[in-house]
Structures are given as C-alpha cells and as structure tokens.
C-alpha cells in the first residue's frame, strides 16, 4: 500500500500534513511517534473514518481514500483499533462471528478455530461478554478478530499500550508470527517504540503530523538522537 501526500484530519481540524509512506507487502511497517502525532488519524484515513483533505491512499492499485469503512474491510484491510476494539456487550463467540461477518458460516467456524488455536486462553471465555475480559485478553481477542477477516493488510493501533510487559511482549511476538507464518502485510502503530522496531522491517517517525524519519526499523532504533528525543529510548 502507498500513502501519498496525505493531508487529513477530522471535520475542519487538520492533523496530518502532506504525509507519504510506503507499506511493502508481507512486511511489518512500523509508525512510531509521540502522543498526538497523528498515528491513529493515519489509520483512520485508510479506513475511511477521518476526513481526507488531499492526497491518496493506494491499496493494490486502487485509490481508497474516503471510502466507507466496510468497503475497506471488504477489500481485505483489517483494522484493530486501540480502543473500542471489541464489542463489550457481545460474547467472545459473537465477537468472532461478527468479525467474520463477510465469511460463510463454514469459513467462520474454521477461522474461529484457528484464532483459538493461536490464543487458547480465549476458549474459556467463549460465552462471556467481551467487556468482562482483562486488557490483555481483550487485546488478543481483538487481534483474533482482525485475523477473522482474512486480511491482506492489518492495521494495528498501539497494541501494547496498557498491557503488562510480559503480555505486551507476547502480543508483539504474535504479530511477528503473523508476518512470518501467514504472510500478512502489517502496518503497526506504536508508542512503545522499542519492541515494535525490533520486529519491524521499515519504520517511519511521525511527529505533529509530519514524517521526520523513514528507513529501516533497525536504523531508527539505533539513531541515538531521534530515539532519545521522540521515543524515550535510552542507549539502545
């Protein structure tokens, strides 16, 4: 997917200013940056939840900026938001079924089994309301739901925020597995940059709606100035 000269925001409030990114297929592209940089807006612009003032978002050769969210989903883009990423009032099973809305009932069963295979802890909660799960369990359910949609591209928004370090590490490892085993293209937005950059291929640094760095993830990780200034990473 390519994002070219994207200026976007909400209503008349502009958040992104002329931003361009390349998201190579079957790789993990990491976007890091401080709070309020516009990372979530970037993902929202791809999914059609934000107002695009100018610029293009091109996915598989098609310009998709401004399309309705469900159409982006049907094209194979799966969005796992940071908040509101599960349906709290629905049971875990209903959540998975909703995530697999576009699939036939046979496919839904298969994929749900796959997801449970990946996150076995969910099996205990199948009939509990998703809102009763802990933060980490909900994150796993959210990623599982993201997988139900047979994605070609996954947009993951701040997966590890609010999670205990052990669970965050596991979640990030699972993301790497998605790329390695399932060949899914991933656009990963993170505030806790270090772990994300460790598994990432390409990286972008987004500050106040501007791209300040683009290149290999390892480069950004090792750049002492940038990582100290923006990412709070002490000596790598």
């Amino acid at each position: 997917m390519s994002i070219r000269n994207l200026s976007a925001g909400y209503g008349r409030l502009q958040v992104l200013f002329d931003v361009s990114l390349e998201v190579p297929a079957k790789g993990i592209t990491v976007v890091v940056g401080p709070n309020g940089a516009g990372k979530t807006t970037l993902l929202n612009s791809i999914m059609g939840n934000a107002t695009v003032f100018s610029g293009d978002v091109v996915f598989e050769g098609v310009k998709i900026q401004g399309i309705l969210p469900y159409k982006a989903a049907r094209m194979g883009i799966s969005y796992v938001p940071q908040m509101g990423n599960v349906f709290s009032d629905l049971t875990v099973m209903e959540n998975l079924h909703m995530a697999g809305y576009m699939l036939s009932s046979g496919e839904v069963k298969d994929k749900a089994a796959q997801v449970i295979g990946m996150f076995p802890v969910l099996k205990n909660f199948m009939h509990r309301k998703a809102g009763t799960l802990s933060g980490g369990e909900r994150r796993m359910l959210a990623i599982g739901m993201g997988l139900m949609r047979k994605p070609k591209l996954m947009l993951l928004d701040e997966l590890s925020t609010d999670l205990a370090p052990i669970i965050a590490k596991r979640v990030i490892t699972e993301v790497a597995r998605l790329r390695d085993e399932l060949g899914i293209t991933i656009l990963l937005v993170e505030q806790m940059a270090k772990r994300a950059l460790e598994i990432g291929d390409t990286a972008y640094l987004l500050v106040s709606g501007d791209i300040r760095f683009e290149g290999k993830a390892t480069e950004l990780l090792r750049d002492p100035e940038l990582s100290k200034l923006y990412l709070g990473i002490k000596e790598a």
Partner: protein, 410 residues
C-alpha cells in the same frame, strides 16, 4: 450512542476546533448573505404590494399583524437558539405566560378598581362576557387610561416571561440538546393543559375576553393595532440586533460555540444562559400579550406547541438560525405563503374539495416541507448568520495577508 472507541468525540469537538485553518466558506457566506437579504426583502415588498392591489389592504394588514407577533416570538427564539445555542422547544411556555397573565390580571385590576367582579368569578363565562365589555367601554373613554393599560399589560407580560425564563434555566443547567428540548416541550404542553382545565385562570375551556385598549380609536382600531404591532416588532428587532452585537452578544456566541472555552475564560455559563432565557422569554411573553390583546380573547387550547413553538422554529430555520434579519424575512415569507394558501385554497386546490378534503391542511404540508427542505438543502437558512471571528475582521485580514492566504479569509 454506543462507544465510538474514543474516536467519536473528535466529531463533537469539531465545532470547537472549527476556527483552525483558513475557512474559505466565510467570505462566500457573507457574499451570499448580502445578496440574499436584499433580494428577498425587495421580493417581499413587491409581493405585499401585489396582494394589496389585488386582494385589498385588510389582507395585507392581517399579514402584517400576524407577522409582527410572530417576528417578536421568533426573534426571541432566535436569541436563545441561534445566539446562545439552547434547545428551546418550549417557546410556547413563555408565550402562554404573557398571554395568560394578560388574560387574567389587567382586566381584574380594572374590575377591582371599578367595583366589578374581580375574583374567581371574573373568569366564569357568565360573568366574564359582561364584565370585560364594561371595562373596554371604560378604556374607550380615556386615552391615557388605554395607553396605561396597554403598557401595564406589556410590562406584566415581560415580568411573567422573565420568571418563566428563569424557571426554564434551571433544567437547562444539567440537561443538554435534545433532552432539554423534550423536557421544555413537555412543560409547555403541560401549562397549556393547566390553562385549559383550571377555569379561574383564563376561563378553561370557554376562554376569557381581554379588555380592548384600542377601542379608544374606534374607527381605525385595526389599522392602529397593526401600526403598533409593527413598531413593537421593529423595536424588538433593533434591541436584539444591538444586544447580539454587543460584548454580551459575543459572550453568548462564545457560550454557544464552545462552552468549555468560555468557562476557561472565566465566563459564568449558567448565568449567561439564564440571562438569555430570561430576555428571550420576556420578549416572547410580550408577543403573547400582544396577540391576545389583538384577538380580544385568551383561549388556552389555542396555544398549541404547533403554532407557538414549531412554526417559529420553521420560520427561524428558513430565515437562518442565528440571523436576526433572516428571521424577519423568514417570518414574512412564510406568513405570506400561509395566508395565500388559506385565501386561495378553494381556487388553487379546489380539486381536493371534490373528495371533501379541506385544502387548509396544506398549511401543515407547507410548513413540514419547508422544514424538511431547509434541513436537507439549506441548513443555514436563506440568510445565513455571519461566521464570527473572535478578532475584529480587519486584524484577521491583515494577519491572513501576512501569511499569504490572500483574500480568502475575513
């Protein structure tokens, strides 16, 4: 609605952040505003002249008094809704306050002073229809007394309206938007039913007569009433224009657009809203008082939310919420349209009569369609309110030029 996962709140905040970025629609809006109001104004004058020539002066006078009363009521609504952002769906309540107070009190005062029945029996229809004409005769004999009576009635109505406005502000502290609107609407309905059922107030189902202070100019009563009404409407318009352009008006707009910012600037939002409601309700009450004096009777059941809340909303939406001039034009346009429908209903829509259908109902269709069309295609009305900047226009223009935005801002 459901949890929007934190994204939903961005959409609500759009209003507060709305001043960011060059708002190119500002100058376009102002150009449209200038042209529209002049064109519409001229067209209305032309239409009224045509009506006068073809259908006679009395009809034009009826249109004018109708428009004058509703201009006052709708301008008061515009103050609360358009300038302060309060969901006032209970406009009828203030109108009722003025109307009932004038129906119940001034006549009784004069009755008391002249040895006539003034207590509960005043409103009893057997008594009322004799007492009130006696009072009117009394008024007709003395111009100072008539003028005094008229002024007394209006002052009383304004006070009653202000009280209602204060009472209305109490729910407005905690309730917002549609919740407030529904509550106020229900209150308005309720007081109509009180007036309809509690006979000592304004005669319940049989209504009371209102003493007529215009009898003193017997020959040209109607014309004088129209002139007085139009002058009053004009005064109300001038007053509100001055008010909304004053610092108080700017504060109202701040509270309307982003009350969080206003609070941060030290404005007492509750007090501002209360003042707006009190002024608006006082004015609406005066409108109600004018109406019952003109009509000569005060019939509780006639003060429906349809006529006194929804029609003003329709007038205001057509004219332009927040724009006083727009409101005046909106009232005039729709009053003319309604009157024409009623006058011409047999000729234009006579075919309906073949099925026994009274074309009078098309008035509702007109108002309903106006609201639907305005909401869909012209949400800012015919004469959109000027988008205000916090800084004076000159400074904005200068700053814009310095930053290279050219002539598109301010």
């Amino acid at each position: 609605m459901g949890h929007d996962g934190g994204q939903g709140h961005w959409i609500e905040k759009e209003r507060c952040g709305g001043m960011n970025g060059a708002d190119k629609s500002v100058s376009r809006t102002q150009d449209v505003w200038m042209k529209n109001e002049v064109v519409i104004g001229l067209v209305m004058v032309a239409v009224l002249t045509v009506i006068m020539l073809t259908l006679g002066l009395p009809l034009v006078l009826t249109i004018l008094i109708d428009a004058a009363v509703f201009t006052i009521v709708t301008l008061s609504l515009n103050l609360e809704v358009g300038h302060t952002g309060i969901s006032q769906f209970g406009r009828v309540l203030a109108v009722i306050a003025g109307a009932f107070v004038v129906g119940a009190v001034p006549g009784r005062v004069l009755a008391f002073l002249n040895g006539l029945p003034y207590g509960v029996s005043y409103a009893d229809d057997a008594v009322n229809y004799k007492v009130v004409p006696a009072i009117s005769d009394l008024l007709a004999s003395s111009l100072p007394l008539s003028v005094g009576f008229l002024l007394f009635s209006f002052v009383l109505a304004a006070v009653a309206g202000a009280v209602v406005g204060w009472l209305t502000s109490r729910p407005a502290i905690r309730l917002k938007e549609a919740y407030l609107g529904i509550s106020l609407l229900a209150f308005g309905d309720f007081f109509m039913w009180v007036g309809h059922n509690w006979e000592p107030l304004v005669g319940g189902t049989t209504a009371v007569f209102v003493p007529d202070p215009f009898r003193v100019v017997w020959g040209s009563r109607f014309q004088v009433i129209v002139i007085v009404a139009v002058i009053m409407a004009f005064l109300v318009y001038l007053y509100l224009e001055k008010l909304t352009r004053s610092p108080f008006g700017r504060t109202l707009h701040m509270v309307r657009d982003c009350d969080v910012a206003a609070a941060v600037c030290g404005k007492d939002i509750v007090s501002i809203r209360t003042q707006s409601l009190m002024i608006g309700s006082a004015l609406a009450a005066v409108g109600g008082a004018l109406y019952v004096i003109y009509a000569g009777t005060c019939t509780a059941i006639g003060f429906t939310r349809l006529t006194w809340t929804f029609w003003p909303w329709a007038y205001m939406m057509l004219g332009g919420i927040g724009s006083n001039r727009g409101v005046v034009l909106g009232v005039l346009m729709l009053t003319v349209a309604r009157t024409l429908i009623i006058t011409y209903r047999s000729t234009l829509f006579g075919f309906l009569l073949a099925w026994g259908i009274d074309p009078m109902w098309l008035e509702y269709t007109l108002m309903g369609l106006v609201i639907m069309l305005v909401v869909l295609f012209m949400p800012h009305g015919l004469v959109p309110a000027k988008v205000e900047s916090i800084l004076p226009a000159g400074r904005v223009r200068k700053a814009a030029q310095e930053q290279g935005f050219g002539a598109t801002v301010g």
